[in-house]
């Protein structure tokens, strides 16, 4: 066979155009690949991404101080994905993801204090200190976790979308999972049911190129994960997940498709995590140059910052003061997470049954 294998190198990571697969029924619409952002949108996206970045840096620091235990998976580098998708949602839409979840929670509007206090295992945390980094929820913000079993959130998110149909709402469920998770069987069981029953769920595959230490090329027979819905006739797109505008545009397309009752949609976000898989990962499976290249050439926050400055929509001083505000907020969260007491011992025995 002389067909050229698809490899990461042939993909447009960091480029500016989303690519959609062409087929009769699966064709994604040819709307502009990048949403034009207003000044307000650029500023909001910048601030939201910065909050996640600073929060995660602080979490890494607290982990280093031994204040956060267990597994702690940072989201640094992937911020544009959740921020862009969140901009495409409307009230009542649900979000669910795996264990790399701090960014998703902040994007849904959950408070930094409550998230950080959960990381340190304190009573003011979103799960009263009983869930930790990987298991947090907020009914109020329609955030359904925070799940530690790779792939388990995919049928769960599909069930939330089922609820929307059952109740006759036009809400949509965003179900996030990783490139590694995309090889789990339950993902395809979900795809099948979602398409069969036209469930309004956007499957967002956050392809950060690695599942722990295994690159996509070593784990997936076809590295174009946007095609993973092909057997189910689910449309899919690859999206530059480092550009918040591309994410927002793709999110708009996918969500419109779902709200119109046309069933599920797959978005493969080409993204990158700068840090190790978890805090204890020395990341020997990739080169320093690879990481450095993504950081310097494709950083999602720097891209917005540059546009804001180029268009004179913000000055250095303004951005600096925004950074100061965000640091202040994160500092307060960290302070709270260290001074808030641990859960009362009696909490050991609560919340097992309703």
């Amino acid at each position: 066979m002389a067909t050229k294998p698809k490899t990461a190198a042939t993909r447009n990571q960091g480029g500016t155009h989303s690519r959609s697969r062409q087929s009769t029924s699966r064709t994604a619409k040819k709307t502009p690949a990048i949403a034009e952002f207003s000044k307000e949108q650029e500023l909001a996206a910048y601030r939201d991404m910065l909050l996640i970045r600073r929060f995660e840096e602080k979490a890494g620091q607290l982990y280093g101080m031994g204040l956060i235990g267990g597994f702690c998976h940072l989201y640094i580098g992937q911020e544009a994905v959740v921020v862009g998708m969140q901009m495409a949602l409307k009230p009542g839409d649900q979000v669910i993801t795996g264990y790399r979840d701090h960014g998703h929670m902040l994007a849904t509007g959950m408070e930094a204090k409550g998230v950080m206090a959960e990381l340190t295992g304190r009573r003011g945390g979103y799960s009263k200190g009983k869930g930790g980094s990987m298991h947090m929820f907020s009914k109020e913000k329609n955030f359904y976790g925070g799940h530690g079993i790779v792939g388990a959130q995919v049928p769960l998110g599909t069930g939330l979308a089922f609820t929307n149909v059952y109740r006759g709402t036009d809400n949509v469920t965003l179900t996030y999972f990783g490139d590694g998770a995309s090889n789990q069987g339950q993902v395809y069981e979900s795809f099948n049911m979602a398409k069969l029953w036209h469930l309004p769920v956007v499957y967002i595959i956050e392809n950060n190129k690695y599942g722990m230490g295994t690159s996509v090329e070593r784990a997936s027979s076809n590295v174009d994960l946007s095609e993973r819905g092909a057997s189910f006739d689910i449309p899919g797109e690859q999206v530059n997940g480092m550009d918040v505008r591309a994410v927002k545009a793709a999110g708009d397309r996918a969500i419109a498709h779902c709200r119109a009752g046309k069933g599920p949609y797959i978005l493969e976000m080409l993204t990158y995590r700068y840090r190790g898989h978890s805090m204890s990962d020395p990341a020997k499976y990739r080169s320093k140059e690879e990481v450095q290249k993504m950081r310097t050439e494709h950083d999602p926050i720097e891209q917005v910052r540059k546009r804001l400055l180029d268009k004179k929509w913000a000055g250095e001083d303004e951005l600096k003061s925004m950074d100061k505000d965000v640091r202040g907020l994160v500092g307060e969260a960290a302070e709270f997470a260290q001074t808030d007491p641990e859960p009362d011992p009696s909490e050991l025995w609560t919340d097992i049954l309703h």
Binding site: Y126, S127, I149, D351, I352
Partner: protein
């Protein structure tokens, strides 16, 4: 403001490490994300990244130093506009975590289960099969609450692989009676998601043997989420279907899962015997705000029992039933095990042994108080079940009796279970593998020392 850089913990278990290399020196400007040092632990070499920006004011631990304890200050950074010599003098320390209260709380006693509702005098008793009772329970609950729906393989158009959902599609339509593809892991997870979203799914497994494909969603997602969410996310779902041995379907289709699920905090596990209990318990299971595992039995489906004709007949979860009072020995069982036990009790009567018979009905939470009250009276106990002996319901019941009624025992607790083998196909071997009435009688005779 000067900040100290502390020796970081890079894994959940790291206590100290070697500061292998500094990549910055005093006077260097650093910004967040810069790699400033390399640390070696027994497992790996890791890079330390700066969190704050500023100028390196002082290096406190030289490179090459071994055994640097986590949280030791290793360098000082002067913040923007800060004086690096002042910074080098200043010493800050990380705020200490408030101490956890040292007391160890005892497990709370669960709420006392309610008694069965009174059946008013003159109530008509209707002879009903377990199959019809289960169907009636679902139909009544679906009429009462639009959020209740049934989902599973062949539940709708085929009317149920074992005809438990007969007629439901006609009455409630395809929106609420949903045929799934053969995709246990997927539809169990979808059901849990719907329950987290506020609906009340009844998920039918064609048999519980196939639920092993879905057990991760049942345990990790359904049972644990309330706890992991600090009480925010309940999961009102019922997983039901036939469980245990049927007839001649061999090893992969003949397993009793009672003790598997009874092991798990967050689950309620029911295994009814009579039609009245099947109906009343299934209705209670649908009402429950918690995930319920409802274990049925194919052999019982066609058996008739009297069911009270009442508008809303429910049986409380977590409550055992004394089916027959007696004074010489307590026989404890549940589900199809009751078939052996009730027959054995009759025969024992002829031998002059008056057995008290308890039907657990719910295996988690275990109604140990009803068992203890009986054992304190009889001084002897035989447990009977179709599960394997190791880590069985019998193991648990025997242990709890030892803990809580040791001084009342006149003989060691005995158990009659399936043999410790995969279920064989051959008719004679299958019979040998299962418990028998004769074995129950033998055990009762042994604990009453009547040879």
């Amino acid at each position: 403001m000067p900040t100290e850089i502390l020796m970081p913990a890079l894994s959940p278990t790291m206590e100290e490490g070697k500061l292998a290399k500094w990549l910055v020196k005093v006077g260097d400007e650093i910004s967040a994300g810069d790699v400033i040092a390399e640390i070696e632990t027994d497992k790996a070499t890791m890079e330390v990244e700066a969190v704050d920006e500023g100028t390196v004011a002082k290096i406190l631990i030289d490179e090459g130093t071994e055994g640097v304890k986590v949280n030791t200050a290793i360098a000082v950074i002067a913040g923007e506009g800060g004086d690096i010599s002042d910074a080098a003098e200043a010493a800050a320390s990380a705020p200490a975590a408030p101490e956890a209260a040292p007391s160890e709380p005892a497990a709370p006693k669960g709420p006392e289960p309610e008694d069965d509702p009174e059946v008013p005098e003159g109530t008509e008793m209707v002879s009903t099969t377990v199959r019809e009772a289960l169907r009636d329970a679902m139909a009544e609950e679906m009429r009462a609450d639009g959020d209740v729906f049934v989902i599973g393989e062949e539940v709708a158009e085929y009317q149920g692989a074992y005809k438990i959902t007969q007629g439901l599609l006609d009455e409630f339509g395809a929106k609420r009676v949903i045929d799934t593809p053969i995709t246990e892991h997927g539809f169990a997870g979808l059901g849990v998601g719907a329950a987290l979203g506020g609906l009340r799914p009844i998920v039918e497994f064609m048999t519980f043997n196939f639920a092993m494909q879905a057990i991760d969603q049942i345990i990790n997602s359904a049972a644990k989420t309330l706890y992991m969410s600090g009480g925010q996310m309940g999961c009102p779902i019922v997983f039901r279907g036939p469980n245990g041995a049927a007839a001649r379907v061999a090893a992969q289709h003949s397993q009793d899962y009672s003790s598997w699920y009874a092991h798990v905090p967050g689950l309620t596990v029911v295994q009814p015997w009579s039609a009245a209990d099947a109906k009343g318990l299934l209705k209670s299971a649908v009402h429950s705000p918690n995930p319920v595992i409802f274990l049925e039995n194919e052999i019982l489906y066609g058996q008739h029992f009297d069911v009270p004709k009442l508008d809303d007949w429910t049986v409380p979860l977590g409550k055992a039933k004394v089916v027959k009072a007696g004074s010489d020995v307590t026989l404890v069982s549940f589900g199809i095990g009751m078939a052996y036990v009730t027959k054995a009790a009759e025969e024992l009567k002829g031998l002059g042994i008056d057995a008290e018979v308890i039907d657990l009905r719910t295996v988690r939470p275990l109604d140990i108080n009803t068992i203890l009250a009986s054992v304190k009276k009889t001084g002897r106990c035989v447990t009977v079940e179709e599960g394997w002996p190791t880590c069985s319901m019998s193991s648990e019941i025997g242990f709890q009796i030892m803990e809580k009624a040791f001084d009342y025992l006149d003989a060691p607790v005995a158990r009659v279970t399936s043999k410790d083998v995969p279920m064989p196909y051959a008719a004679n071997l299958e019979k040998l593998a299962l418990p028998s009435v004769a074995e129950v009688i033998e055990a009762a005779k042994a604990v009453t020392y009547t040879a």
